[in-house]
């Protein structure tokens, strides 16, 4: 196997695992903001318990998001040094902004939020969670700016074979960006809503003690999922227009635009295979199928009346068994977006084979096996822990547990100097 294929496999593996965790992060944090805000506004302890329970699951899930995100960030330099060499001037900027403006603050706020229960004022504590959520969305925005640039490079000029930034505004108004961002964000809300509904359904099926609590989160999750799936479908279909005009070869098919583009590429870059693998359009097809299936969530909403959804029980099983579907769909969607970009790493500008680092194949293979095993093991461990904590219920999550009664002075003197 050659270095290029190994590097692509490694990127696909890492990104897929990363994506499975970050969509949950983005979806759950939105719902958590709602719950904690409701707690601060109403003072109803039910909202505090919901925030602690779902907050704990959110925090466990967050761990793998960071770990895989770190690998992603370093992988650009490790495996794709050509990317930074030829297009780093443009592509690097949104990534740098993402780390500084978004992720840096997100994690700092989250640390204070986890340890701030019973220590900070309620308003400050809530503001921290809002900070986590806003920076998480900012993060999604900047990552999608960077990704959209790879789909449709804009705002640059090539001098001496290297792309230089000419118009940053063009990156922000990239036709590949708007609908795709809406699509990803609503997919995250769908995943968050489905996860919340499914975990709650599990508790209601087992008739665990916290009926009222899980009834509430079932309703929140289901309504979120229903609204989100409609947005997912809307933003999804709205992408066909822009994608068709800027990336006509993406989903295969024989149309005049893609024939013209391939002819242009052949004159500029020489003859070659410029059609992406069929995986892109196959992935798209299955994703759309899952998208329509999940649209049936709307059929469950009338059953919320008088708790028929819980009394009938089989809808709960449907929700529980449906949980893997949105996860499969987000992976398929990502595959179709990224594989559809091939053979380019930056569409029509830089070929994937030009971007791969000049690293030997055995080294790349070791790295692929090593990171896949490491991240795969950690991901499975993380899901097992998530499932156990989800199952354990909301009796006493470690997150936000009140401290033991004071035996020492409550506010010790600062020890510095």
């Amino acid at each position: 196997m050659d270095t290029l294929l190994l590097a692509r496999l490694q990127f696909a593996t890492t990104t897929s695992i990363h994506f499975l965790f970050v969509v949950v992060t983005l979806g759950l944090v939105t719902l958590l903001v709602g719950m904690q805000t409701a707690w601060v506004l109403t003072g109803n302890p039910k909202w505090e318990r919901l925030t602690r329970y779902w907050g704990q699951l959110y925090v466990i899930n967050y761990v793998l998001g960071i770990a895989t995100g770190l690998v992603m960030e370093f992988q650009f330099g490790l495996n794709w040094s050509g990317l930074s060499r030829y297009v780093g001037n443009v592509f690097g900027a949104p990534l740098a902004i993402e780390t500084l403006v978004a992720f840096f603050l997100e994690s700092t706020f989250l640390g204070m939020w986890i340890f701030g229960w019973h220590r900070l004022g309620k308003g400050v504590h809530l503001a921290l969670l809002w900070g986590v959520a806003i920076t998480a969305y900012a993060s999604a925005f900047w990552i999608m700016v960077a990704n959209s640039w790879l789909q449709n490079p804009v705002g640059y000029e090539v001098r001496d074979g290297i792309a230089h930034l000419t118009d940053f505004g063009a990156l922000l108004t990239n036709p590949s960006l708007g609908m795709a961002l809406g699509h990803v964000v609503s997919a995250a809300l769908l995943v968050g809503g489905m996860l919340m509904a499914a975990v709650s359904a599990g508790h209601l099926i087992r008739r665990t003690p916290d009926f009222a609590l899980f009834r509430t989160s079932l309703r929140i999750g289901l309504i979120t999922a229903a609204l989100a799936i409609t947005m997912v479908q809307g933003f999804g279909f709205a992408q066909f227009g822009p994608v068709g005009s800027v990336q006509p070869t993406k989903f295969g098919g024989d149309n005049p635009e893609s024939r013209a583009l391939i002819a242009e590429w052949t004159t500029r870059f020489g003859p070659g295979d410029y059609t992406p693998p069929a995986l892109a359009s196959v992935g798209l097809g299955f994703m759309i199928l899952i998208g329509f299936t999940l649209g049936c969530v709307w059929l469950l909403l009338p059953l919320l009346y008088r708790d028929w959804i819980i009394r009938l029980r089989f809808p709960l099983w449907l929700i529980l068994l449906g949980l893997p579907l949105p996860f499969v769909a987000v992976i398929l969607g990502w595959i179709s977006r990224e594989v559809g970009r091939q053979p380019w790493v930056a569409y029509g500008l830089l070929r994937t084979e030009q971007a791969v680092s000049p690293v030997s194949a055995p080294l790349m293979l070791t790295s692929l096996i090593g990171f896949s095993l490491l991240l795969g093991t950690l991901a499975v461990t993380n899901w097992v822990l998530l499932a156990r904590h989800a199952r354990r219920g909301a009796a006493d999550p470690a997150l936000g547990r009140p401290p033991a009664p004071p035996s020492e002075p409550a506010h010790p003197e600062p020890a510095l100097i």
Partner: protein, 335 residues
């Protein structure tokens, strides 16, 4: 403009080593036989700071990619095994610390703690060896690529990695004297003072190996700065020991923190105006100015990111201020 960004890059990497350095130091010290309750108390000392420390590495990599794309590609790909080693270490620590208390059995927790120890050692070794790799030069060819990875396997890289592990262990122990409750802090202080001679020895060994290495002598552009590095490291470690003996844990942490920040600053200064010095062809060496992104990118990053620096530092400072003081029975426990 590129000098300013080079300074910002250095600031972030140095801050990362200082802040995450005590995470890794504390991780290494989980092996000191304090029992399950002691280990939990040790991690509670990291508590709210842990998540805010690692972000400095992410930001460093972000600045590297945005402001020095050429360096990013060649440095990371050219030092592949060392970077991967450090990265695996960082991942093990970040996952281990955050997940170790989620299982309730002490056996699983002890297993996770071992993961944290191994990760801390790997991270420290990796970053130490990476700094050494910069100092001993890389086989950069005229086509701009680094040839192979065997250039990393030198006694100097190994010695520098080990020295980094020992300095980080001292830093972690010193941090614990600042954070733990009085009794446990005194014990950590004794550990720190016992570790200082070990760190001094490791630094001395790395210095001798470095002085004997022709590659290091050739690559260093300013020998005076390079010689200053071990001198200041020794001074910082001795200052930390003195501060610990006088019960001044705050000053001791400042001193060990300086011992972790200094290598970044002085390695950068010793190689200036280069950032990657070629061992094979002097003309292939990469200057900081050539490694930087082109002017419009740096200007943009300057407009977007630099005004936010005070906010980033401010929120970090808020975290340190809110959770200052020693951990006691009322400290929030989560890790």
């Amino acid at each position: 403009m590129d000098l300013a960004w080079y300074a910002v890059l250095g600031l972030f990497f140095a801050s990362y080593l200082v802040l995450a350095g005590y995470d890794y130091g504390v991780g290494l010290l989980l092996s000191r036989g304090v029992g399950p309750a002691g280990r939990r108390e040790t991690l509670t000392a990291l508590g709210p700071f842990f998540l805010g420390n690692e972000v400095w590495l992410v930001a460093t990599a972000g600045i590297l990619f945005g402001a020095f794309p050429l360096l990013e590609g060649e440095l990371l790909a050219g030092c592949y095994p060392v970077v991967v080693g450090a990265l695996v270490g960082v991942i093990l620590v970040t996952v281990g610390v955050q997940l170790r208390s989620r299982p309730s059995s002490e056996r699983s927790r002890a297993r996770w703690d071992r993961v944290v120890m191994i990760g801390s050692a790997l991270a420290a070794l990796g970053w130490g060896a990476l700094l050494a790799a910069l100092l001993q030069g890389v086989p950069l060819r005229t086509d701009g690529h680094v040839a192979g990875v065997t250039h990393l396997a030198t006694p100097f890289a190994a010695a520098a990695g080990i020295a980094m592990v020992t300095v980080i262990a001292v830093h972690g122990a010193t941090f614990l004297t600042l954070r733990l409750s009085a009794g446990a802090a005194a014990e950590a202080g004794r550990t720190a003072r016992r570790l200082v001679p070990v760190a001094l020895t490791a630094v001395a060994v790395a210095t001798v190996v470095g002085l004997l290495s022709a590659r290091v002598r050739d690559a260093v552009q300013r020998p005076a700065v390079a010689v200053l590095l071990p001198v200041l490291l020794v001074a910082a470690l001795l200052a930390a020991r003195a501060a610990l003996a006088r019960q001044r844990p705050g000053w001791a942490v400042v001193a060990t923190g300086a011992a972790l920040a200094l290598p970044v600053v002085l390695v950068g200064a010793a190689l200036w105006p280069y950032v990657l010095v070629s061992t094979t062809d002097p003309d292939a060496s990469l200057r900081v100015a050539d490694a930087a992104a082109s002017a419009p990118t740096l200007r943009l990053l300057g407009w977007v990111a630099l005004p936010l620096l005070p906010a980033l530092l401010g929120f970090q400072a808020m975290c340190w201020w809110v959770f200052r003081g020693r951990t006691d029975g009322r400290a929030p426990v989560y890790w």
